[in-house]
């Protein structure tokens, strides 16, 4: 680490200007909006933390969304990261089939979330969909998928794994390139098994990449919006009403910007708390 205000600021200044103008200013406006309320005539006035106290103490819809978002995140994040990591480890070495499989795993990521949502809404159609075509082929009963309160959230998880696993695989592949080849050669001389090498060399030395993927992926999934908006509209009976969608409804359906901004600000708080734990857990965040 080099101690230099001048060099440090020289390197971060351009990014600081861009982030400050196009990200921090709008974020600031949005946070301030959460302290205001808009009347039906369109006038807005300062209300302090009223939007927040209402959400916390008098708003069961908010709490329903809160718990659903939490459950969704606790399932979808480990699942995506585990699958992405396994795929990257399997495809790290250059063999005749490596390039083909990498590209196949990456395919869903090339399709935008909006289009992926349309595709899965037709694939999982309860009557005519491809998925039920498969189930009946194997003699299994057809499933309602997004039409069922018990299954809809898990279908969202499934969709997200399908779309995102290949994306995070890419980051793990990049991170794996940073591990010195010499360590593996030394381990080979000592006669270490593939599993030992993975556990003792690869995984520990992947920790910075792992921290990155963990934090970024968690943030992304807390902000899941497109599939809810396109497929379920939060239903059936609120079972997929993630916080982002609830905030969207507040802003653009009920025209309650104060509540919408309060929800997204709370969401930011939740993501920050999660990130802090993830940084601590991977020990890779703040080491200087």
């Amino acid at each position: 680490m080099f101690r230099s205000n001048r060099a440090g600021w020289f390197f971060i200044l351009p990014a600081f200007v861009f982030l400050g103008l196009f990200k921090i200013v709008p974020i600031g406006v949005s946070v301030l909006e959460s302290l205001r309320q808009t009347t039906y005539t369109g006038r807005s006035y300062f209300v302090g933390f009223e939007n927040y106290t209402y959400l916390f103490f008098e708003d069961p819809t908010f709490w329903n969304s809160f718990w659903i978002t939490l459950i969704y995140s606790l399932v979808v994040n480990p699942l995506i990261i585990l699958i992405a990591l396994v795929m990257a480890l399997l495809l790290n070495e250059n063999r005749f089939f490596t390039k083909f499989f990498r590209t196949v795993f990456f395919l869903p990521t090339a399709i935008s979330f909006a289009v992926v949502s349309v595709i899965w809404s037709v694939v999982l159609d309860p009557h005519y969909g491809l998925a039920n075509g498969f189930l009946t082929l194997f003699g299994l009963p057809a499933q309602p998928f997004f039409a069922s309160t018990a299954q809809a959230l898990w279908c969202l998880v499934f969709l997200n794994v399908w779309r995102s696993a290949g994306y995070w695989m890419m980051y793990f592949l990049a991170g794996l390139q940073n591990i010195p080849e010499s360590l593996y050669q030394a381990a080979d001389i000592d006669g270490a098994s593939a599993w030992t090498k993975t556990r003792k060399i690869t995984l520990p030395l992947l920790s910075r990449t792992f921290a990155f993927v963990l934090v970024a992926n968690t943030a992304f999934n807390f902000l899941t919006f497109a599939p809810v908006y396109i497929i379920t509209k939060g239903g059936p009976r609120g079972s997929t009403n993630l916080l982002m969608y609830e905030s969207y409804k507040s802003a653009f359906v009920n025209l309650d910007m104060g509540r919408a901004s309060a929800i997204t600000t709370i969401l930011l708080g939740i993501i920050l708390i999660f990130s802090l734990f993830e940084f601590k857990w991977t020990k890779a965040g703040f080491e200087y």
């Binding site: 680490m1 861009f18 196009f22 070495e93 075509g133 399908w162 910075r208 997204t264 930011l268 920050l272």
Partner: protein, 282 residues
Amino acid sequence: MMRRYKKPLVLAAEFVLLTAISLFFILPILWIVASALRPSGPLYTYANPLTLQTFFPTTVTFDNFVHIFKNLHFGRALLNSLLVAVATIAISVLICSMAGFGLAKFAFRGKNLFFFIVLITFMVPFESIVIPLFVLVKRLNIDNTYFALILPAAGNGLAIFLFRQFFSEVPTEILEAARIDGASWIRIFRKIILPLSIPAIVTVIVMVFMFQWNSLFWPLIATHSSRFEVVQVAITAHRSTEDTSWANLFSSAIAGSLPPVILFFFLQKYFVRGISGTGLKG
């Protein structure tokens, strides 16, 4: 570089596992491709019950693709997205790699605040900043231009975070040695840091490309002339609650997904052990 070869049995097991995973990823896509290659008709005809026809159409036609390019000007949207993505990548890779270096290797006043800013920029939902951002872009007088699509995406917190993680791996001793030899920081950055971080740069190129290529909400709001129509806007225009043109939707979705796949296919050679990550890091 000699590695012990894996036993054929292990290799075969890996191959079977990989094939199983890829079926999960590819079957829905195969079905979409088959639907786009069929003469346009009802979408669900071949989906359930399942037959070989579901994935391999008996009559293959490229009419749907010809239609979207010839009559619906999909090529224009592809070019727009390409221009926006390339311009964003050029700015983004430069300023984000610089910032990542600053965070990874320097102690300076305001560093923790800047890192906090970097983190929250990708933790805040875009939907919640979209209105203030549009007001800002209008005030800067760049709404309905390419600049409105490029500039707000140029500063990318995720890219800075990624660069920081990778640059931290470069041993500080090498930089100290270069300093003693009288190299300037800019020179160290260009001649040592960047060449050692090719996988990170490639990853950020793909990341920024995908971000711009897949953006839908912001282009819808920031531009309104069809001159600036980007890929996702063109694709999703085929879906509406009253009438969805599946043939147009699927064929444009497929054509629109090819550029990122091609980009990844060619850039992934930098994700192979032994090509990079040699030399200094041993």
